[in-house]
């Protein structure tokens, strides 16, 4: 609230407002009566521009973008990253062993005491051979399978070493040709085997011995040039084995 005080008329010999006109009130502009409220005095100089008026928000905007991006980045590891087999964790040559270590959530199907716990799967894997075969072996279960017309079959031989009771479910053995085509990446394989990293007919999805060999069979286009074997356990990482 504004209180206007009209000063007393100065006495002789005492002039506290020497710059004022005689008889004029010190707080009033010329032409205003005592008790009037003076209008806002316009600010001198040029008005502030849009950038100056919004300087605070302009500074906060990039910070808000960074915070928003960080807040929603959980989608990368929650949805995008685990989906599919897309990350080459190691690359070795044919016959060269690779040490694989990855964590997974064990559901306890084969080892009940590991149910709902995160388990480190560690194993040494070696692709010892990849060669075309003329016929497929008899499967452990079901009828014999012939190589379909218009296809050729490859046998992929692998050697594994791991602690007994290592879980090998979701094992996928795929062949990749020079044009990027992925053969045999979905289970079951041509022999109806969904448990491809354990010997045919294995009971359960955990290993029983410290070392073992497996053969996996994959149907391939006759004109395909196979360049790589990919071994994975549900992804997203996989082992790439380069063929000579």
């Amino acid at each position: 609230m504004t209180t206007l005080v009209t000063p007393a008329v100065p006495g002789p010999g005492q002039d506290p407002y020497p710059s004022l006109q005689p008889g004029g009130a010190p707080s009033l502009q010329p032409g205003l009566l005592p008790g009037s409220v003076p209008p806002d005095v316009p600010v001198a100089g040029r008005p502030r521009g849009w950038w100056r008026r919004n300087a605070v928000w302009l500074v906060l905007l990039p910070i808000a973008i960074v915070v928003t991006t960080a807040a929603s980045s959980f989608r990368v590891w929650a949805f995008w990253w685990p989906d599919g087999v897309h990350y080459e964790s190691q690359r070795v040559a044919l016959g060269e062993p690779a040490h694989l270590a990855s964590e997974y959530l064990d559901m306890g199907f084969d080892v009940p005491e590991r149910a709902n716990t995160y388990v480190l799967r560690e194993l040494d894997a070696t692709v010892t051979g990849v060669e075309q075969v003329d016929e497929l072996p008899a499967p452990a279960y079901g009828m014999p399978v012939e190589i379909p017309e218009g296809s050729v079959a490859y046998e992929v031989q692998l050697h594994f070493a791991a602690e007994p009771r290592t879980d090998l479910s979701l094992c996928t053995i795929a062949l990749v040709s020079d044009d990027g085509t992925r053969y045999g990446e979905a289970s079951p394989d041509v022999l109806g085997n969904s448990n491809r990293c354990l010997p045919d007919g294995a009971d359960g999805f955990v290993s029983e011995r410290p070392e073992w060999d497996v053969s996996s069979f994959v149907l391939v286009d006759p004109d395909a040039r196979i360049e790589q074997v990919r071994l994975s356990f549900g992804g997203p990482d996989y082992l790439a084995v380069e063929l000579p």
Binding site: R53, E149, G150, S151, T181
Partner: protein, 206 residues
């Protein structure tokens, strides 16, 4: 910070009106739906192999039946069954082929039935041809000029699953005269389970 009324300037008004006009012009003149969203339709005929980029598709045979039989079930058509035998040969990786529908001359669509061992979808990997039998129960007036549309993307929600992706459309080759004859015939088709295609069923390789 400045408070109070904002001044409306002709520059600001022009900016807003101009922006709206430009946006409307962009939407009206650029055919966004046909360019961005329409599936890449590859047309062909029965026996012809279509390259859908992610797979080679061949419709090997088209039959019409009143009754379908499998080893465990028989199904009677409400109209008549159009039985479409096809082979899928995936060319990139393991693929699910979800889309299957028949479109008649009046643009009505009919989705497949899973009765009597018929398939409504398929899964295949590169390296082999996979034989599938689709069966569609259609009315009499849907036979002439009908086409079958097969793709990896589904046809629900106006082919939303096939946007920006290839779909094969094969003319079933049924004329009006054929349709009358096919409708009157009483045929029974014994369906086959999905499996590896033989050379006979795979059709011609272009």
């Amino acid at each position: 910070m400045r408070h109070g009324r904002r001044r409306i300037t002709w520059q600001g008004s022009l900016l807003v009106v101009g922006g709206v006009v430009a946006g409307c012009a962009l939407v009206a003149t650029v055919p966004q739906e046909t360019v961005v969203e329409t599936p890449f339709v590859v047309e062909g005929a029965v026996g012809e192999t279509l390259d859908l980029t992610y797979a080679d598709l061949t419709v090997t045979e088209v039959r019409v039946a009143d009754t379908l039989e499998s080893f465990s079930e028989a199904a009677q058509a409400g109209g008549t069954f159009v039985v479409v035998d096809a082979t899928w040969r995936a060319t990139q990786g393991a693929t699910s082929f979800v889309g299957a529908e028949i479109t008649d001359a009046q643009d009505r669509t009919f989705w497949p039935t899973d009765q009597a061992g018929c398939s409504t979808s398929a899964k295949a990997q590169p390296g082999y041809a996979w034989h599938v039998t689709y069966c569609f129960d259609v009315p009499k007036d849907a036979l002439a000029g009908a086409t079958v549309r097969l793709a990896r993307g589904g046809q629900t929600e106006e082919h939303a699953g096939q946007r920006r992706d290839a779909a094969g459309v094969v003319d079933l080759g049924i004329s009006a005269a054929d349709a009358k004859e096919l409708w009157e015939a009483t045929e029974t088709v014994t369906t086959e389970s999905p499996g590896y295609a033989t050379a006979r069923a795979e059709g011609s390789e272009e």
